[in-house]
Structures are given as structure tokens and as C-alpha cells.
Symmetry: C2
Subunit: 627 residues, 2 copies
């Protein structure tokens, strides 16, 4: 019952196969104009009335007969009799047909008896808005397939259009499948997965101009899924089946579409998103979207969004593309086109792009991404420093405000980024120093112990920036130590226990300051790292290391106290270390860096740190020059 | 009771005076996550649960103990016993703690007895998604003041956030004022104005993230307006009073804000939008916005939109700016900063900008605008051909698709523009020829009679394009004639009647083909145009000319039959004329022009024309070369 065969057709070949099969969508409905914001006209809209529908005064002033004023001049003013020769009018008042011109109130001299004197002649129809000046009855106000904006609604009302025919929102069914998927989030059991994709789809469909209809998750039972698909096809214009599109034993989607209609494609050469199914049931498009959130996102963009744009005859919005320099080498396979989520930031005037976690399961990579790098199928990847094109997900103005921070990770950085916009990448302390050297980061958080002097951070900067162009912004002192399960059931006492046969360790990646601290202590104790079980396993952040202890993937890991506290682990202090911020001296004039320093020195930051055990402050924000 | 004094303070000076007085907005509310699209977080959001919250298989395959597989190779496969040594798993299934690795189903050879053979060792935690791979409990999912997107909703659900604290939508009251303003559009009387601005504001406020609350129009009674303002201030965060902000006798807005609070500014040096009032009542901003729709639009953008962005801590969206070449000279006064609505289009690769109607009452200029030219206060205007900066209102991709059409006006052009995107400017036939000569238009619709030969259009092109680089695309034949009121009450028989003392005429602008036709006929009849009442009055389009007859502004005008028909006027035929499209020969290879020609030749166009009296077709789309 397993469908092990999956195609690997290119995205470019897939699209015409699918889109050319779509029938013209022509459902319409008439709605009140005031509810038409964002909707799309289905036919041209012609004015019912003229605007204004009468000749109107365009000024505050008096209504006159232009003939009466012909001789008026400064030396020879003309006097007009109240009610007989003129009438007061405000802007917008109808023009009494007896009169044919308006004189502005500023140009009128009022006499005590109510008469007025004027010193300038008025030409016929002076300051009069003619009937239809704005809109003439039967003028086309909007063409067909126009997306209605606030200013259009204003013009429609002015033209007497109180109801408008628009394209009916295409209905899109979302069927989440899988016995592990739960909708009710209370009392989650091990193995349960919260249905988050459907909620993302609902919002995406709303943004694309469709009307989402979300089903409750369907258990892995073929007949049950069949019933739901038939119901959805009957009531909707597009059907999304989420997950079950792969080759697992419970992946019924493909065989059901085959049974009820036709499968066009199963398997596209894109990453993420390969196990996509494109098919039709009763001429309605049915799309099997893979379950990983990032796959779900991209497959939606390529197929459902395009489909809705086509149905609504909306212009396909083209994302803006910028050129940026890669801060990290990226390998990709020739087997597929890849969509890589990237952060972007300006470092000394240069736009730098850094890849985020490439796992299809990492929905946070979508949240954090500033843009997307598309690596085509015939491309093995890009070198560090290479100029690449990035599709923007955020406006460049927002990206300009944020500071690129590449280096060591600490949970405090997220807290800071809530106040000062930071574009964070965790590559360890050494990675940070190298990025700074190559001008790919503005700030490099580091904690590197100099094994000779026993001091932090200045040693490494002296070595890598011998000409003195770097500086150190003092940050925080933090407790590093062993994170062990609550109650320390295996009675771990310190680093010396790492060689115990009953213990499995989780290390940090090469270049991480925490790993340097470990190696420094192992050397002091004369321990060979080959004797440590798990030395070769690497977590990339303190929280990931803590989580591996929490989930019993290992027995202990080295990390900061704050991470252990967050997950309610026990903590055995190893050392207080200096977690500081390396920068190039030039950056100390960067307005964004100055704000960062100001925040480190602020009382607000001091209070924030006081609330988190495991940290202390000693002159944060102080500048240490490297000579 | 008239407030004749109005300030003229620059926009730049006004803004700090107003915005620095705004108090920090800090209203919050907790809403279900699925309803949070487009809302703004009021504080950082931290995950409630990890995702996944268990170690999960990352592949479809089998769950094994990595130790059991250590020796596996192609030459020495390892056999694993069903249920004892391995379990089948699908992607996302929890990892039974007995096992520590997943082997992909594609790499497994199944034996008949249910056992499997493998030929490659598995490393520990191979193809296993660790607890928290995506999100770790207490990770920051979103920072504060973040506008929530679909991908954020996905991550929030994955992190177990089912309710979220967001900034409460600021409530904005809209009070339309003026006894002439009506909400109920049935049975419009002369002098009534449909309340269209409030509807535009409602939609604009929705787009800006606020919650609009629209009042019914308030009559010009001081106490009534006062009651409404007090009600609105009590229930809302911002109050807009629309119109009544000028210096008319019924403009109570200023004196009421003064009575109930404080007026900061009355009169800003912008056009349109001068008579704006900025004030505060009970510390709430109260904004008096002028009544003309275009003024209303710009004053909203400068003050209400910015205010809402500030309250919601949203990044102020900066419109994209492009450089374009002006097709027409624009004068502006040193008295104010001016916002001019522009159409944009590519002509032979060059982006050309043409001003739309600059009247503050012309809401259609907002509908038609592709961008805004801001002319600063110390600038008298811009020359034809000058490069200017335009703020885009539409994506450049949409602008690229449309054809620039400058020249003579005919109602049929609107119909064509519903099928083929056209960027239309009406400057008359001669204006079109000149624009074509200066390469500022791609198509110039013209109908110019050669008085010597009595033929249309080829003569003028021969003269202006002697080197033969122009061509004529044949268009339509149309009836031109005198438009007179229904029933022809003044018994007008033809052009010869124009000199009658009881008749007032409405002419077309200089350079219009219709005016050339008139002058040609006057000359034939030996009539001096000084003898015609109204010869100097000009309407810019056929519909405007027809409307001047319909509204009794004049007794007759010359124009096309279709315009007379639309307004139910009588029509006296003068001549059939050729309304054709002049282009440069190069453009005949432009894909957009080819589509235009294709449409002229289509059966669809032929049917469209059949339905409109006053037109006929003779080889439309045929190319006539000019030698």
C-alpha cells in the first residue's frame, strides 16, 4: 500500500501541465459598494449619475451675473444690491440659474446696508463647477478586473454606484489529514501535532482574495478521507489536501484523486515541496500539499496563490528583487530547484544575505526570513561573497533599520532584538570573528577564552585585527555550566564526569565559544575527548542543547544558566564568562550601533537582566579598544 | 460668522506641531490567533510548547537501533527482524525510545517473511527530528509591534499560542457635515451631494489598521454638530470632521474645536488640502478635513494614516519612487506644496509622466492616477521633458503593460481600455501629433481634416513626419454633429445657426479635431467666429460638451453622436470623420501595439461598435504608411 514512486519533474514543466487545464472562472455576485474593498470588478462600471449633478459654486463668496461686473475696476468699483444683484454662497451650493459667476468672498467689500462693492470683473462661469466636472453619467468609473481601493469606493459612491458586480471569491477547501494532527490544543499527547498549516492556509487564502473553508483534521482512514474530499469538491472551487501527499503507508491522497478524478503530477523537483500532487476531480483543481510547514508555504505560493490570481484576473504581484553578498557558502543539489530563506542586512553600506535553517520543518525560518534565494536546478550552490539575487519578503526600508549580528548565541539576544532590530545568525564565536573580518557582520557576539591569559575576547581580536581596526563593546557576564535533568538523577558533579560510561553528552558546534570553554577545561583535566560519548554530536544553540537534555536525547550538555532555567533543568556552574560584542571601529559611528550601545547602558536593559538568573552586568556598553 | 482668516503654514512645520502632541497609544486586547491576520503584537510572544514536542521520524521508513546497523554494507547486508529490530514509521511518527535512527524506505529491501535487509549503516539520530527542532518552548516567536502575516499564524499555532495580545485597533470617528450631504441616494434632489468621502475614509481607515465608525451626515446646525463631536470624542481615539473646515458661513468646525478643546493649525500650505484644521479635544486628535475628494484623500494620507501608523508602531510604508519624463509643462504656485496626480507609461523604453486633472473636486483623477508628483513650495513647476520623481501608486509591472495614448478623445477609448490597458490623456488631435513627434506617446488618436484635400489624418502626418517614420492605424468612422436639447426646442438646423443672437455655443479646446472641423465649416460658410456667443468657452471632451448642453449651460455644442446619445440629446449630423491612431513605425513591433491592432480587427470590437449608434468600421486595424 506504499506509493514509493514519485516523479521529479521541473517546476517549469509542471506549471503549464497544471494551469492550462484550469477552466475559466466566471462566478459573479452583486454586493454593496461599501463592502467592496479589495474585491475585483467582474465588468466595467459606468456612472449612474453625474457628479456634481448640478452647477455648483466652487468657492465661498457671492453669486453674480458676469455682465453686471464688466466695468468693475479698482478706480471704478461696481456696487451690487443685496438679493437682487447677488446671493451669498458657500462652496458646493447650487448656482441659481439667474446668475453665472462666483466672486470669492476675499474680493468682496461689504457695505453697512448689505450691498457689496467689487473691484474686478467676473468672467462667465468663473468659480463654477459644471455639472459632471468630476464624473459624467455613463462615464466608465472602473474597468473590469480591477481590484477596488478606497479611492475607487469614493468615486463609485460619487457616481451613484451603490451596488457593484464583483468576481465571487473562489472557495478553497483545506482538508488537513493524519491521525496525529489535532485541532484541539488542550491536553496534547506525545505524537500529537497541532494543525498549524491549515491556519496558515486560511490566512494565505484570505490574503490571495479567496474564501477559505477549513475542515477538521481527518484521521488516516481511506473511506473517511474520500467522503471529505467528495464533500469539499462539491462545495468549493479548489481543494487543498494537506499532507498524505508523500509515499507513507497512510498516504491515500494520490490513490483517491486517481479514483475520483485524475492525477496530473506527483513529485516536483523543488526543495522544499517535492511530494506535491496536482490533480483534478470534477474539473476542480485538487492539490496535495506536503506536511512540513515550509514545504506547505512554498507549494501554496507556486500553485494555489497563482491559481487564485488567475481566477480573479489579478496582476501577479512580482516580488522586488535585490542583489546581496552571501555571508556563507550554500550547497544545493542538481536534483531540484531550491528555495532558501535568508536574512538580509546592511553592513557598511553593503547588503549581506545569510541563509536561515534550511529544514522544511522549521516554520520559524519563514517568520525570520527577509527574503528568498532561489537556486535553480542546474546550480550546485553559491560561494561565500558571491553576489546573489534575493526576492524580498519585507520592504528594504525595514531591512535598512536592522543590525546584522553574526556570532555566538545567547537567549538574551532575542530579548534585545525586541527593542533594537537585529538580524541574528548563530554561527558560534569564531564564525562571528571571521564574519567581522570579512565585513559580513556589523556586530559579532563572542565569548572566546584565551587559554594563555585566561581572559576573554581581547586576545582573539588582537590576533585577527592586528592593525587595531576592531573594538569590543562590553556585554554581559554569564554563567556557563553543565545542564542536567531536574534532580540530577545520575549525580553528575562536574566536567570530570564526562568520561563516565553511563553518560551521553551533547556538544556544541566547532567554533562555538562554549565548545572552546569545554576543550579548555578538558585540557586542564587531561581528558581525551575520544573518551566522551556524544562529543561528536552538535547542537547549534544553548536552547537546542538544553532541549536535548530535557528530551533525554542525552544526559548532559554545556550551556548558559538561562537556557537551563527556561526548561527547568538543573545547572552545575563551570565558569563566569564574558559575552561581548566585537565590531569594527568604523561602526561605532553607525547610528544603529549607537542605539544598541545606548540600550545596553539603559536602566531598562539592567532591569531586564536582573530578572534573569545567571547573568550580571559590569559596565555594559563600555568600549574597549583593541591595539 | 465667517472665519476669513486661514493660516498658510508649511506641511513640514505643521507635522511636529501636531504629532509631538499625540500621547502614546497603549490599548491592548487578547484575540484568538486565527483572527490575528494583519494585527500588530503589543508585546513579544514566547512559545508555550516545543515543536515538535517529541522526537519524530523525519522520513517514511523504518526505525532502528543504530548500533545494530554498524556493520551493514553492500557486500555484507544486515538482516533486521520485524517488530524486534525495527518498526515501520511514516514521517512525523514519534520515535519509540528503544530506537535511535530512521532508515529511508527507499534503502530498505523487504524479505517475504517480513524481515528487512539493509546495506548501509545508520548514524545515531539519523533522520530524526529532535524535540524543538522548529520551536523550543519559551523561544520568542514574534517581537512586539510586529504585523502578523499568514506564516506567523502558522508558527504561533505550532508554538501553542492560541490567543494573542495585540494592539487594539484605534477607533476613528468620521463625521460628515453639511446640509447638502445625503446618505440615502434614492431621490437625489438638485443640490444634494452623495456622501462619498465618508465611504472612502471607512476603507482607508480599514487599510491603515484602524476601526472606522461612520456617523450619518450632520446638518449645518452648530448645536447638532457639537453634540455629534462630543459623542465621537467620547467613543473614539481619533475624530475626523469632513468639510466645514473652510471659511464659509456654516463652517462651525473650527469654532467648535476651539470651544471644546484647542485648535493647533487652521490652514496648511498644501494643494489640494489647504483649509485643514488640526486640533485636540480631551487630548484626542480632531482633524477637520476639507470636502473636496482629492483634498480629503491627501489630508488623510498626511495626517490620519501617519497617526494610525504611529499608534500601531507600524513602519511607515514608503512609496516607491521612479524617475519619469514630463509630457506636459506644469506650473505651480510658490504659495503651497502641490500633489499632482499623474499617469505613467513606457514609450519606446522611456517612462513618461502626464498630469491628470488637477481640480480638487475630481475624484476620478485619484482613480486614474499611476503616481503622484510632489511639487515643493519653493518650486514654480516643471518643464516639458524634465525628469521628475513620481511616487508610485501602482506596481511598475502593471504600468509596463499599459499603452500611453495621448491625443483626441472619444468615448470609445474607455471601452477599448477595458480590454487593452491604455493610459489615456485627452489633449486634442494636434496635441497628440506633437506628443508623438516628441516620442511622449505611443498612440495618438487623431481626426484632423485637411482643408485642401478634404481628407483626414494623412495630410497632418505627411507634414509633421516628412521622413516617413510615422504610420496610421485605421480606427473608426464617427458622426460629428450639433448636440442640442431633446426635441430641439430652439429649432436649430445647422452650423449656419451659430450666429443666432438667442443661442449660446460651447466650443472645444484649441487643437481639438472637432474645433478644426468647426472652423473648416465656418470658413466654408463665411462666418466670423466673433459673431458666435460662447466661441471662447471650451470643453475638453465630447462628454463635457454634451453635458454643458444637457445642463443648459449652453444651447448647443459640436460633438460625436455617441456622446449626445448617452445624455439623451438630439443630434444634427455635420460630417462623418475618420478617427484614426497615429504611431511611429517602430511601435508597430511593440507587443502591446500589436495586441491593440488585433483587438481593432477582432469580431468582439466589431460587435461592440455595432451596439453604439454613430460609428461605423472600414478596415479597422489596417496600417496606412506615411511616405
Amino acid at each position: 500500500m506504499r506509493n514509493t514512486f514519485i516523479d521529479n519533474i521541473s517546476l517549469e514543466e509542471t506549471k503549464p501541465l497544471f494551469f492550462n487545464r484550469i477552466e475559466k472562472y466566471s462566478k459573479k455576485e452583486t454586493i454593496p459598494t461599501e463592502k467592496s474593498l479589495g474585491r475585483v470588478t467582474s465588468s466595467p462600471v459606468f456612472a449612474n449619475v453625474s457628479s456634481p449633478n448640478f452647477n455648483a459654486s466652487a468657492m465661498d463668496g457671492i453669486l453674480v451675473r458676469s455682465k453686471d461686473t464688466e466695468t468693475a475696476s479698482e478706480t471704478n468699483p461696481v456696487t451690487l444690491k443685496k438679493d437682487k444683484d447677488f446671493l451669498y454662497v458657500n462652496t458646493g451650493n447650487p448656482v441659481n440659474p439667474e446668475f453665472d459667476a462666483v466672486i470669492m468672498i476675499e474680493e468682496v467689500v461689504e457695505a453697512e446696508n448689505g450691498d457689496v462693492r467689487i473691484i474686478k470683473s467676473a468672467y462667465p462661469y468663473q468659480h463654477i463647477r459644471n455639472v459632471g466636472e468630476d464624473i459624467i453619467k455613463n462615464d466608465m468609473i472602473l474597468p473590469s478586473f480591477h481590484e477596488i481601493r478606497p479611492e475607487d469606493i469614493g468615486a463609485l459612491f460619487a457616481g451613484g454606484i451603490f451596488e457593484i458586480e464583483v468576481v465571487k471569491k473562489p472557495k478553497v477547501a483545506i482538508i488537513p489529514t493524519g491521525s496525529e494532527i489535532v485541532e484541539d490544543y488542550r491536553n496534547l499527547k506525545v505524537g500529537d501535532i497541532i494543525d498549524s498549516n491549515s491556519r496558515m492556509f486560511e490566512a494565505m487564502i484570505t490574503v490571495s482574495g479567496g474564501e477559505p473553508y477549513r475542515y477538521s483534521p481527518v484521521r488516516d482512514e481511506r473511506e473517511l478521507l474520500k467522503k471529505n474530499i467528495l464533500d469539499a469538491v462539491g462545495k468549493n472551487d479548489i481543494v487543498i489536501i494537506n499532507a498524505g501527499s508523500s509515499a507513507g503507508t497512510h498516504d491515500y491522497t494520490k490513490s483517491l484523486i486517481e479514483e475520483l478524478g485524475e492525477v496530473i503530477i506527483h513529485g516536483i523537483a523543488i526543495k522544499p515541496g517535492k511530494p506535491t500532487i496536482l490533480g483534478f476531480i470534477e474539473d476542480k483543481p485538487v492539490i496535495g500539499i506536503p506536511g512540513y510547514p515550509v514545504s506547505a508555504y512554498f507549494v501554496y505560493q507556486e500553485f494555489v496563490k497563482s491559481l487564485l490570481e488567475k481566477m480573479l484576473c489579478r496582476d501577479d504581484e512580482k516580488a522586488d528583487i535585490v542583489k546581496a553578498s552571501l555571508s556563507k557558502r550554500i550547497y544545493s543539489s542538481l536534483k531540484h530547484k531550491e528555495f532558501v530563506r535568508m536574512t538580509l542586512g546592511y553592513v557598511g553600506g553593503k547588503l549581506v544575505a545569510t541563509p536561515l535553517d534550511r529544514g522544511a520543518g522549521v516554520s520559524m525560518s519563514l517568520v525570520k526570513a527577509d527574503g528568498i534565494l532561489v537556486i535553480s536546478r542546474n546550480n550546485e550552490g553559491h560561494d561565500i561573497g558571491e553576489e546573489v539575487e534575493i526576492k524580498l519578503l519585507k520592504p528594504l526600508s525595514a531591512i535598512k533599520k536592522s543590525i546584522v549580528v553574526i556570532g555566538s548565541n545567547d537567549p538574551i539576544m532575542d530579548r534585545i532584538s525586541d527593542r533594537i532590530k537585529l538580524s541574528l545568525s548563530h554561527v558560534g564565536s569564531f564564525g562571528g570573528v571571521l564574519a567581522l573580518k570579512k565585513k559580513e557582520t556589523t556586530i559579532a557576539p563572542i565569548h572566546i577564552l584565551d587559554s594563555k591569559s585566561g581572559t576573554y575576547n581581547t586576545g582573539v581580536l588582537n590576533k585577527y585585527f592586528p592593525s587595531g581596526d576592531a573594538a569590543l563593546i562590553k556585554g554581559i557576564k554569564r554563567e556557563q555550566g553543565l545542564m542536567v535533568p531536574k534532580g540530577n538523577p545520575k549525580n553528575i558533579r562536574g566536567i570530570e564526569d564526562l568520561i563516565r560510561a553511563d553518560l551521553t553528552f551533547m556538544n556544541r558546534q566547532r567554533g562555538a565559544g562554549t565548545r572552546i570553554l569545554l576543550d579548555y577545561n578538558l585540557e586542564k583535566l587531561g581528558i581525551d575527548n575520544n573518551d566522551i560519548q556524544g562529543y561528536e554530536r552538535e547542537a547549534v544553540t544553548h536552547m537546542a542543547a538544553a532541549m536535548s537534555v530535557k528530551s533525554s536525547t542525552c544526559d548532559l550538555a554545556l550551556g548558559v544558566k538561562s537556557a537551563a532555567d527556561i526548561l527547568d533543568l538543573d545547572f552545575i556552574l563551570v565558569d563566569y564568562e564574558d559575552y561581548d560584542f566585537a565590531v569594527l571601529k568604523d561602526s561605532l559611528e553607525d547610528e544603529r550601533v549607537l542605539k544598541f550601545i545606548e540600550y545596553l547602558k539603559s536602566e531598562e536593559f539592567s532591569k531586564e537582566i536582573d530578572n534573569i538568573p545567571g547573568y550580571k552586568l559590569e559596565n555594559p556598553g563600555e568600549i574597549v579598544e583593541i591595539s
